[in-house]
């Protein structure tokens, strides 16, 4: 067993075998100029305002690297809001990380793209809301967003970065998937993530307005496959990644490749999480201000809680697929059933699977309610303090 268990009383369970946190996601801030109604940030983000300092982040990066972290994502909110971003990129690159900036492009300019390059930034991911200007701006809650994104995507390529374009797809833009792909080709993206909206955070609140029908989804996947074949035949190395929504599956996703196995998120105020949604769970997660990342990853209660299979209830516990999907997503189980130990309701073996069937049926109806936009005013409604 892992050396981190040594010295503990033998009556305590040993730390289960687990991997290294290869992926470190640094959510630098919850501040964002956009208001996307599918944002994965917690609904009560306005409650957490004590952002980590530059030095505190650098300490996190150093400790992460020692644990084997190699991919570092600068995310948010909008990471460009942080005035020390260049410094953080520089320090992370010096430590040997592959540095990824995950941005809306709003707040970026030619000078910053060059400055980040000099600091050692490896890659920029720009998110779009749609291929159509008015739909994009309606979703982003900003009239200038689309033109700015186009301009910045071109700038990123002009300055020689690898570029990933990310489109969160849902019922309002998924029928334009052909236009989305053509736009990505035109912008010379290296990778395109066509990520069907995952229903966490704000997206869960807006699910009925976002979730596509099965027919919409199947059409989009078929068109994506046609483009893949066409682009490959033309010798275009662009890679299209189509992320299917688990709501149309009969078995849950192997969420995060297992709890506390490869992924570690640190929130703007220093909370360490095994995934970016886990803050919603009624579990105490450690803060990087109080504990080392080594302790957090290897020994903390929060990170060990859903490792292994001991925590499982039926039907997961005796299921022969548990090593494949780990019972699915703990957050989804909690949101829908009130108990994070339950089987993810996506699984057709779950006694709560009817919740998913109802969501599918709802998706067939027209989107009735207006969006609940992700902004500070709306967040206050969910705040405890």
């Amino acid at each position: 067993m892992s050396g981190s268990c040594q010295g503990k009383p033998s009556s305590l369970p040993e730390t289960p075998t687990h991997g290294q946190p290869l992926w470190l996601l640094a959510e630098l801030t919850y501040k964002c100029p956009l208001q996307c109604p599918y944002c994965s940030n917690p609904k009560d983000f306005a409650d957490f305002t004590e952002e980590l300092t530059t030095e505190e982040w650098i300490k996190v990066f150093e400790e992460g690297r020692k644990l084997g972290a190699v991919q570092l994502g600068f995310s948010g909110g909008e990471p460009l809001v942080r005035q020390d971003l260049s410094r953080l990129i520089h320090e992370a690159r010096k430590l040997g990380y592959y540095t990824n900036l995950i941005t809306s492009g709003v707040g970026l300019n030619e000078r910053k793209v060059a400055e980040f390059r000099d600091a050692g930034l490896d890659h920029i991911q720009v998110s779009f809301q749609a291929s159509d200007e008015s739909v994009n701006n309606m979703l982003a809650g900003s009239q200038k967003a689309f033109q700015q994104k186009l301009k910045m995507a071109r700038e990123v390529k002009a300055q020689g970065y690898p570029m990933v374009l990310n489109f969160v797809t849902h019922r309002h833009n998924i029928d334009q998937i052909d236009r989305i792909i053509e736009l990505c080709v035109e912008l010379e993206a290296d990778y395109v993530e066509l990520a069907t909206c995952q229903y966490y955070g704000w997206a869960y609140e807006n699910r009925q307005q976002l979730m596509p029908t099965r027919a919409q989804l199947e059409r989009a996947e078929r068109i994506t496959n046609e483009y893949r074949a066409k682009l490959a035949a033309a010798g275009n190395p662009i890679k299209l990644i189509f992320v299917t929504p688990d709501y149309y599956e009969e078995r849950p996703k192997g969420c995060m490749n297992g709890w506390g196995q490869v992924f570690l998120t640190v929130t703007p105020d220093g909370q360490a999480l095994p995934c970016h949604s886990a803050r919603m769970l009624p579990i105490e997660f450690p803060n990087v201000r109080e504990h080392s990342l080594d302790h957090i990853w290897n020994e903390s209660f929060g990170f060990n809680h859903f490792r292994g299979y001991e925590w499982m209830k039926e039907p997961c516990r005796s299921c022969d697929e548990k090593e494949k999907d780990f019972g699915g997503c703990r957050c989804q189980a909690y949101m829908m059933t009130g108990d994070a130990h339950n089987t993810d309701p996506v699984c057709s073996k779950s006694s709560h699977h009817d919740i998913i069937l109802n969501a599918r049926a709802e998706a067939e109806k027209p989107a009735a309610e207006p969006f609940l936009y992700r902004n500070e005013r709306n967040s206050r409604v969910f705040c405890k303090g």
Binding site: Q20, L22, W23, L67, G68, V70, Q71, G73, G96, Y98, N100, D122, H123, Q125, G160, P162, V164, D190, Y191, P237
Partner: protein, 91 residues
Amino acid sequence: MMSMEMIPVLESMFRFQWEEAQQCYVLLYPEGMVKLNGPAGEILSLVDGKRNLVDIIGLLVDKYPQAEDLDKDVVVFIDDALEQNWIRGVV
């Protein structure tokens, strides 16, 4: 047939480095990592955008004089790396 004069160059999408935690060479790219086996790592560590295949094979032969068919192994790997778009060839 691949020219032995070809100079392999790492594609700008990738970063090549030794990973202490993995005890192997890796290729890093946006949000991903390829762990390289021993021979693949050795070959790529000699790809500097200046050496051609003759130079690379020469250096490997010096380092591993006992190894058989080194030239064939290098050609097979380079072919695969071109296919994967890890490198491009300049003549």
